[in-house]
Every structure is written in structure tokens, then in C-alpha cells.
């Protein structure tokens, strides 16, 4: 029994451990490759580039842990920021505008939640629809205009730092929320319900878990946090255009699953997600410092995502000994041949045109 418990704990800890090791490795590599990496003010400044992602990631952990997905967050971000900007341009007080936009985001979340929890539509289908719908509303509001001229009290949200420490104010906001979301997920009945629903929604329902209500709450949370991220991003930009934050949802999902939250629902930790955010953050920053092109950076993040899951499994297989029968060798030879042929064609054909 002892043995078994240890095995269980190790299973949970392994992922976070791997992330910590990766973070240390990347940090070390960065400090070797660039003299500018280990510089507090540089690190702090780049932190604020990732806070909106982080803030949206927190409820995304909830959403994915229940076995759902929310593709509409970046659009909700855009809608809230645009509504705020639109009201502000219409002469409203900025904080009143923020409040109204925040309320609007609750409705956005309620619509998602209603369609998913009450009408039992798949979250992917619903949020693909609201992805266009909410972004579309942002365009309808601002059209070809940009909202600008926000007061400094507002831009402080995204640009301000804590006194002379250089710690971005948005980092504080994120840290506070991360703590709350983490505790809710791991220490409360709400968190327990999330995991139960993610593992077996029907059994949860049969056990009296208020499945629909919890889903509603989670999707509302997701939208509200997206709105908050929207205000911070608008504050950081000092302006709002209706396309603000387009495409961020994929980054948020990438970070969440890299953090070990099972895409099928039912498992994951908040610490893992935060560690993944740190990992992606310092990796991006480091790659920027050594002047890797944007696309190359994307390739590396993509590889990281895949290899972080692939390599541990592969290692385990190697450790337990590969079964070198003829079938395996044939297949391996086939794969290698195809890969080599593809590689040759790839490099040869590109020179044909590029050389001209």
C-alpha cells in the first residue's frame, strides 16, 4: 500500500518536476548564450508581455479540466476592450466604461455557458461560433476607429510598475489571481467538482453535482478573466482597436496543456500551468535575445510541446527494452527512408527557385 501511494504521488509530481528542470535548463542556456538575460529589469519588463496570456490561462485550466474548451477568450478580450474604448470615446468615465465592459463579459460568458450547459452543445462548436461573433461585435463597435487617449490612471494597469522595483503591476494582478485560482482548484469543493465533471460528467450528475451550474460559472469566469486581460492589454497598448489580442487563444491553450492539464479533462494542476507559462516566457525572451526569427521561435515552441510528452514516453520504452523484431526494423527503415527522401526533395527543390 505504501508503495502504491508513492507511485500515485510521483505520477502527479513528475510533470511539474520536468517543467522545473526545463525552466532551469532554459534559464542556464539563456544566460550562457546572451549576456543580457540575467538582468532583472530586462526580465521584469518582458514579464508584462505574458500577463494577459497568464490571466486567461487561469480559468482555461478550469475549462479544460472539465473536459471543455473555450476558443472565444481572445474575442471576448477584444469585445470587452473595444466596448470599454467605445464608451470612453463616447465621453464616459474610463472606470465606468470598464465596469460596463466587465458586465458585458459576464453576458458573453453566460451565452457560452447557456449553450454548453443547458443546450448541451459541444463547447468546441459553441466557442468556434462565439469566436467570430464576439470579435465581430468588437468590429461593429469600433469599426475603422481606434480608441485612444486613456488616462494614466488606467494605462497604469498595463504599463505601471510597483514604485522603483520595476515589478509590473500586471504581474501583481496575475500573481493574486493565480493564488486564488490555484486554491479554488485544489482546496475547495468547487475544484473537486471540476475534476469529477472532467472525469465523468454523467456519474457526477448522478451524484448530485450541480454540473450545469458549475459549467456556467466556469465559462463566465473564463470570459470575465478575458475581459480583465483585455483591459490590461488595452492599458499596455494605450489604445484599443477591434482586432486587439486576435489569436491569443491558441497561445493560452498551448501553455495550459504544456502545464500538464489533460486535454481530455479530469486532471491537471495550477502550479503546472504557471510553470509552463514561465517556461514559455523565458524561452521566448531568450530566443528573442539571440535573435531567432519569429517562425523559428514558433517551431521551437511547437517542438517543445510535442517533445515534452514524447520524450519521457520514449525514454520509458527504451528503458524497458525495445522489441527488435523484423517488423519493427522494417518499419523503422521505412520511416527513415521516407524522411530522407523528403528531406532531399525539400532542400533540393527550394534551391531551384531561390538560386534564381
Amino acid at each position: 500500500m505504501k508503495l502504491n501511494l508513492i507511485a500515485i504521488r510521483r505520477g502527479v509530481l513528475r510533470w511539474e518536476g520536468l517543467l522545473v528542470i526545463l525552466i532551469i535548463a532554459v534559464a542556464f542556456a539563456n544566460s550562457q548564450l546572451s549576456p543580457y538575460f540575467l538582468n532583472t529589469s530586462n526580465l521584469l519588463r518582458t514579464t508584462s508581455d505574458f500577463m494577459e496570456i497568464g490571466i486567461m490561462m487561469l480559468p482555461m485550466v478550469f475549462v479544460i479540466a472539465t473536459g471543455n474548451i473555450d476558443l472565444s477568450i481572445a474575442s471576448t478580450l477584444g469585445l470587452s476592450a473595444s466596448l470599454m474604448g467605445w464608451l470612453f470615446m463616447g465621453g464616459w468615465d474610463i472606470w465606468l466604461a470598464v465596469l460596463v465592459a466587465l458586465i458585458a463579459s459576464i453576458f458573453a460568458g453566460l451565452l457560452n455557458g447557456f449553450l454548453i450547459a443547458k443546450l448541451k452543445l459541444p463547447s468546441l462548436a459553441v466557442t468556434i461560433g462565439t469566436l467570430s461573433f464576439y470579435r465581430g461585435l468588437a468590429y461593429a463597435l469600433l469599426g475603422d476607429q481606434a480608441a485612444r487617449g486613456y488616462p494614466e490612471s488606467f494605462t497604469f494597469l498595463g504599463q505601471g510598475t510597483m514604485g522603483s522595483t520595476g515589478i509590473p503591476f500586471s504581474l501583481l494582478i496575475f500573481g493574486g489571481f493565480a493564488l486564488i485560482f490555484g486554491l479554488v482548484l485544489h482546496k475547495t469543493t468547487f475544484g473537486r467538482y471540476i475534476f469529477a465533471i472532467g472525469n465523468n460528467e454523467q456519474a457526477s450528475r448522478f451524484s448530485g453535482v450541480p454540473v450545469d451550474r458549475i459549467k456556467m460559472i466556469i465559462f463566465v469566469l473564463s470570459s470575465v478573466m478575458a475581459a480583465i486581460a483585455g483591459f490590461i492589454l488595452a492599458a499596455r497598448f494605450g489604445s484599443t482597436r477591434p482586432d486587439i489580442g486576435t489569436g491569443l487563444e491558441l497561445t493560452v491553450i498551448t501553455v495550459t496543456v504544456l502545464g500538464g492539464v489533460s486535454i481530455f479533462g479530469g486532471s491537471g494542476t495550477m502550479i503546472g500551468a504557471v510553470l509552463a507559462l514561465i517556461l514559455v516566457g523565458i524561452l521566448r525572451f531568450g530566443m528573442g535575445l539571440i535573435n531567432l526569427q519569429g517562425q523559428v521561435q514558433d517551431i521551437i515552441i511547437g517542438l517543445l510541446l510535442i517533445l515534452s510528452i514524447l520524450l519521457p514516453r520514449f525514454g520509458k520504452q527504451l528503458a524497458s527494452g525495445l522489441n527488435w523484431n523484423r517488423g519493427t526494423i522494417f518499419r523503422l527503415a521505412g520511416v527513415v527512408t521516407v524522411a530522407v527522401l523528403f528531406g532531399i526533395f525539400f532542400f533540393w527543390s527550394r534551391t531551384l527557385v531561390l538560386a534564381r
Binding site: 462548436a125 461593429a140 517551431i299 526533395f345 531551384l352
Partner: protein, 340 residues
């Protein structure tokens, strides 16, 4: 009250009333008809043969890829890398045909499909053999393949004037009855996929694996091979789509088909493919793609303010999904009442 997964693909029925009831696509067809009537009232050009041909042209590539996407979704997977695979094969094929203007242009098709097969197989290996969850694997490959386009081309696009003139005929030529090749390709793919899914064991395995993977293991179905196959097919069809894309738009750019994956997921979802795997059928996907095509086409025809177009598009997709599920539920209730 329990969550019921939407249910699809019905076998032939004997009793007359059940044909209508069990016909999964009723909802979407009603929606298409309603939308068409409304649009025609605003602009009668909508109903013209010309416009109809344009809609079909515009959705042909989407349907080809959406069918591949559906097969992946039926196995409980998703392929987010389709846009990047299309872009990469489009670029590589375009480079090749411009480098060898003398080569018979139809060879571009097998070339594209072959390249696509390699890309899809890599996805398949990572997912089926490596055990990486599909959404993670293909999210990663989305960036990787897109990055490779950039690396491959060094940012150099291929423009219309660089292609051999016959290359555009690949998609736009009209050898049979004046129907453009592009539509013919789509029809061939639709029929092939239908046959594959309905009449081959491997095709049936796809449904079995998606419906209950544990049971599939007990039943001795080759799960890994099945999963590998759908991703490889996805690659092959993306390769075909890449060639057609380059031919139709007469250009290969670093951002070709960027973001296309969302549409290829939307079409099956609107067409009733169960996003949790196990069910879905070809007709639904085709209708789903058709509906998306109509929405895009009609938004330009009804002269809705361009600032409202995106919102209208999202709203219509939402409505389609909701209306479909309502009609489905109504029909189910009706059929269960009649059973008694």
C-alpha cells in the same frame, strides 16, 4: 436530462415516417433553405447559376479538407495542422512546377499528395505511436509546418506570372460539361471518402475506435494503425488541397491557408459530426461546408455593413448549431413517442 451526445449516421429504415425522422441532416437542410430564401429576397443574384457555381468553387477545397478533418474527429482526434500542411505543400509544389515549367502539370497532383502523405504520416506517428494527444501534437505541428514554409521559401512567394500557364487549368479547367476541375476533384473525394467510410473495414474501424477505444482493443481492432491512417489521409488530402489552392489562387505565399483549420473544424461541427468522436457522415460534412459557403457568399451579396459581417457570420454559425440540435431533439422525441 443527462448529456446525450448528438447522434448521427443512421442506417436505412423501413417505415416511411422514420426516414424523415432518422435523417440526421434534416436540421441543417432546413436551415440552408431558410437562409437561401432570406438572401434571395434581398438579392436575386443569389439564385443564379453563376453564383451557385462560385459557391461550389469556393467551398470545394474546404470540403476536401473538412472530410479529412471529419475522419480525424470521428476517431476522437483533431488535426489543427491542416492549414500549415496545405501551405507547405502548396509552396513546395509551386516551387517545383515553376522550376520545371515543361513538366506535365497533372504530376503536381501526385506530388502534392505524396508530400502531404509524408507530413500527415509524421502527425500520425507522433499521435498513434508516440501517444501524444492529437490536439497537442497538431497544435505543435501547426507552428512547425508553418515555420518550415518560411524556412523553405525564405519568404519568397510564387506569383501568378511565375507559374506555367497550364498550371491554373488544374483547378479552373473545364474538361467535362463545363464543370471546373476543382469541383470535380471535390466530388471524387466525396465519393471516395463515402465509400471508404461505409464499405471498407478500415473505414468502419474508424468509427469503432472513436466510439469506444477500449472496446476496440478488446475486439482486436488495430487501433494504432487506424489512427495513423486518418492522419495520413488528412495529410494526403491537405496535399491535394495545397496543389488546388496554388492553382486556384495562382500564388503560393507564406501565409497560404493560415487559420484555415478553424473552418475545417466548423464544417463538420455544423454538419453534425460528433466532436467527441464515434459518429458523423459524409453528407453532413458536405452540407456543413455548403452552409459555410452560403453564409460567406450571402454576406457579400446582402450588402450588410462590412463592420457587421464577422458578427453576422458567427451568429449564423451559432444559430445553425442550435437550430440543428433543436430539430434533432424534436425528431427524437417524436420517434420515441411513436415507438410506444
Amino acid at each position: 436530462m443527462i448529456a446525450e451526445k448528438p447522434e448521427v449516421a443512421s442506417p436505412p429504415e423501413r417505415r416511411f415516417w422514420q426516414i424523415f425522422v432518422k435523417f440526421r441532416e434534416t436540421g441543417i437542410i432546413i436551415f440552408i433553405v431558410l437562409l437561401s430564401v432570406l438572401v434571395t429576397l434581398r438579392n436575386s443574384a443569389f439564385l443564379s447559376a453563376d453564383n451557385f457555381r462560385d459557391i461550389l468553387l469556393n467551398i470545394s477545397i474546404l470540403i476536401i479538407v473538412a472530410l479529412a478533418q471529419s475522419m480525424v474527429i470521428i476517431t476522437r482526434g483533431i488535426d489543427l495542422s491542416v492549414g500549415s500542411m496545405i501551405g507547405l505543400t502548396a509552396m513546395m509544389v509551386s516551387y517545383t512546377v515553376t522550376a520545371f515549367p515543361g513538366m506535365p502539370t497533372f504530376l503536381a497532383i501526385p506530388l502534392g499528395m505524396g508530400l502531404g502523405a509524408v507530413l500527415g504520416s509524421l502527425n500520425g506517428l507522433i499521435i498513434a505511436v508516440g501517444g501524444v494527444p492529437p490536439i497537442i501534437a497538431t497544435l505543435g505541428m501547426l507552428s512547425i509546418y508553418r515555420g518550415l514554409i518560411f524556412f523553405y521559401s525564405n519568404g519568397k512567394w510564387i506569383n501568378a506570372f511565375q507559374f506555367p500557364p497550364e498550371f491554373r487549368e488544374l483547378a479552373k479547367g473545364t474538361p467535362i460539361l463545363g464543370i471546373p476541375n476543382l469541383i470535380l476533384f471535390a466530388i471524387v473525394v466525396i465519393i471516395s471518402v463515402f465509400y471508404f467510410l461505409k464499405y471498407t473495414r478500415r473505414g468502419r474501424d474508424i468509427f469503432a475506435v472513436g466510439s469506444n477505444p477500449d472496446a476496440a482493443r478488446f475486439a482486436g481492432i488495430q487501433i494504432k494503425q487506424t489512427i495513423f491512417t486518418v492522419y495520413m489521409i488528412s495529410g494526403i488530402l491537405c496535399g491535394l488541397a495545397g496543389v488546388l489552392w496554388a492553382s486556384r489562387f495562382e500564388s503560393a505565399q507564406t501565409n497560404t491557408a493560415l487559420g484555415f483549420e478553424l473552418q475545417t473544424v466548423a464544417a463538420p461541427v455544423v454538419g453534425g459530426v460528433n466532436i467527441f468522436g464515434g459518429s458523423g457522415n459524409v453528407l453532413g460534412v458536405v452540407l456543413g461546408g455548403f452552409l459555410l459557403g452560403i453564409i460567406n457568399n450571402s454576406l457579400t451579396l446582402v450588402q450588410i455593413s462590412p463592420f457587421w459581417q464577422l458578427a453576422a457570420q458567427g451568429l449564423l454559425i451559432l444559430l445553425a448549431v442550435v437550430v440543428d440540435s433543436f430539430i434533432l431533439r424534436r425528431l427524437k422525441r417524436f420517434s420515441s413517442k411513436r415507438k410506444r
